[in-house]
């Protein structure tokens, strides 16, 4: 075993305390509904439009770029942890990582050039 059951206990503790905190707050707090109390915050002026509407597509682009780069990181992790061993046996893994990273770097430069991450 490698300590994962301790993590489960830790997660259980977090879950328990979070629900205890919410329950205590619900039990201790007053409940006095009044007109206007539960209106959406808008600095006191009447609400003009709903909050949930369409938002800039840039957020979506960032999410897609993130997926690519995060996967890249995860794919290099196994290589990185054994890197010293690989390095002792030659330059093969070094060039593999280099090519892999270079391809993605070109992709990033393309995204920057296409102004995918310019916000103005």
């Amino acid at each position: 075993m490698s300590g994962f059951e301790a993590i489960v206990i830790y997660l259980g503790m977090s879950l328990l305390v979070v629900f205890l905190m919410l329950a205590a707050s619900a039990a201790l707090g007053p409940f006095r509904p009044a007109p206007g109390k539960a209106t959406t915050y808008e600095c006191g002026v009447p609400l003009l439009d709903p909050g949930q509407k369409r938002y800039d597509v840039k957020y979506y682009l960032v999410a897609v770029l993130f997926l690519v780069f995060d996967l890249e990181t995860i794919l290099i992790y196994p290589l990185a942890v054994n890197y010293t061993k690989f390095a002792a046996s030659g330059w093969l893994i070094f060039f593999e990582i280099f090519i892999f990273v270079a391809v993605l770097l070109i992709g990033l430069l393309y995204a920057i050039k296409k102004r995918a991450i310019d916000w103005e």
């Binding site: 993590i7 830790y10 707050s25 439009d49 993130f66 942890v81 990582i97 990033l108």
Partner: protein, 346 residues
């Protein structure tokens, strides 16, 4: 393998400790801010206002739990829980000292020494996004949604350089286990420097700190809750303990990030040029390693406050530009140079 009892004691102790320090951190932050701005800060509740966090807690507990009528009830209640759970749980793999020998039994001062400690931290850091975006969207308020979207975009943008810097650190130490990384930082490096990660990864450390500040939504990257633009960001509509969970979660995140910085870059519980285990007994060594680790962590917690009143807030396009156009290429260069040096010196 240790007894279940010891594991439970460790979990309860460190969980409570982390939350206690996070609570105290709210006081340190307010008093520290006051000091830097030449005012007094909270000084009425208890000596030096030390009981202020308790007063704040009681106030949060006894406030009415309001759900806005336009909000989506399920998402609205789910948001704070989704944010607080990963934040509270992330410390499980970070060490808090070396080891304690009691009755011939060795107790490692770390809740779970798992072989994927790194990935656990990165994964839980990524999950925090859900708490913000779900809470922001569920509130159905334009400020909340803008704050939620901003924080998502910012967090995932800085998650990438964060992960790549950790890759270089993994390359240097050859392990994912945070305890093994801590143990590897004993002794000296190049003959005269402490054998700490910061000297092996100087650029990596700067990139890590920058990404960590953005991950924790701290000034200068506190765009998701920039009060002058979008009220309070994703938690505009929250009150009572739901708001409390968001705020607590943030401070617990700070503690985890500070402890992670110490573990990876500042020699964990090792003092420079001095091996405490040589002249301290088994129990006093355990306590001393805990204290050294905590003092280092406390310095980085203070740094969060310090930087808050030193650097002004960035504009949003500057934040995204810094992440994608500076940090990611630089962290890839850092990875490349690290690989090259290991290749040449192995």
């Amino acid at each position: 393998m240790e007894d279940l009892g010891i594991t439970v004691i460790k979990v309860v102790f460190i969980w409570t400790w982390v939350l206690l320090i996070a609570t105290l951190m709210t006081w340190v932050e307010r008093r520290g801010s006051a000091m830097m701005q030449d005012r007094l800060g909270p000084n009425r509740a208890g000596p030096f206002g030390l009981l202020q966090p308790v007063a704040d807690g009681i106030k949060l507990f006894t406030k009415e739990d309001i759900v806005p009528e336009k909000a989506q009830k399920i998402l609205f209640s789910l948001g704070p829980v989704l944010f607080a759970l990963p934040a509270f749980s992330a410390y499980a793999v970070v060490p808090f000292g070396d080891k304690l020998v009691l009755d011939g039994k060795e107790i490692i001062l770390q809740v779970a020494d798992v072989n994927i400690g790194f990935l656990y931290i990165v994964a839980l850091g990524g999950l925090a996004v859900y708490g913000m975006v779900v809470g922001g969207w569920g509130s159905n308020n334009k400020y909340s949604i803008l704050g939620g979207l901003r924080s998502t975009a910012q967090l995932i943008s800085y998650e990438v350089p964060f992960g790549i810097v950790l890759l270089a650190v993994v390359m240097v130490f050859g392990t994912f286990s945070l305890r093994e990384i801590s143990l590897a930082q004993q002794g000296t490096f190049l003959g005269f420097l402490p054998n700490w990660g910061v000297f092996k990864q100087p650029l990596g450390f700067i990139l890590f700190m920058t990404a960590a500040y953005a991950e924790a939504n701290r000034v200068p990257f506190d765009l998701p809750e920039a009060e002058s633009e979008i009220v309070a960001g994703y938690h505009t509509e929250y009150g009572s303990m739901r708001l409390g969970l968001y705020l607590f979660g943030e401070y617990v995140n700070l503690y985890t990030l500070a402890a992670l910085t110490v573990t990876l870059f500042f020699g964990a519980w090792h003092l420079p040029y001095l091996d405490m285990s040589h002249f301290l007994g088994p129990i006093s060594y355990g306590i001393a390693s805990f204290l050294v680790f905590f003092l280092k962590t406390a310095f980085f917690l203070w740094l969060f406050v310090w930087i808050r009143w030193t650097v002004p807030r960035f504009r949003y396009d500057q934040v995204m530009g810094l992440g994608w156009k500076a940090l990611i290429p630089l962290s890839l260069v850092n990875l490349f140079v690290t690989a090259l040096i290991i290749q040449l010196t192995v």
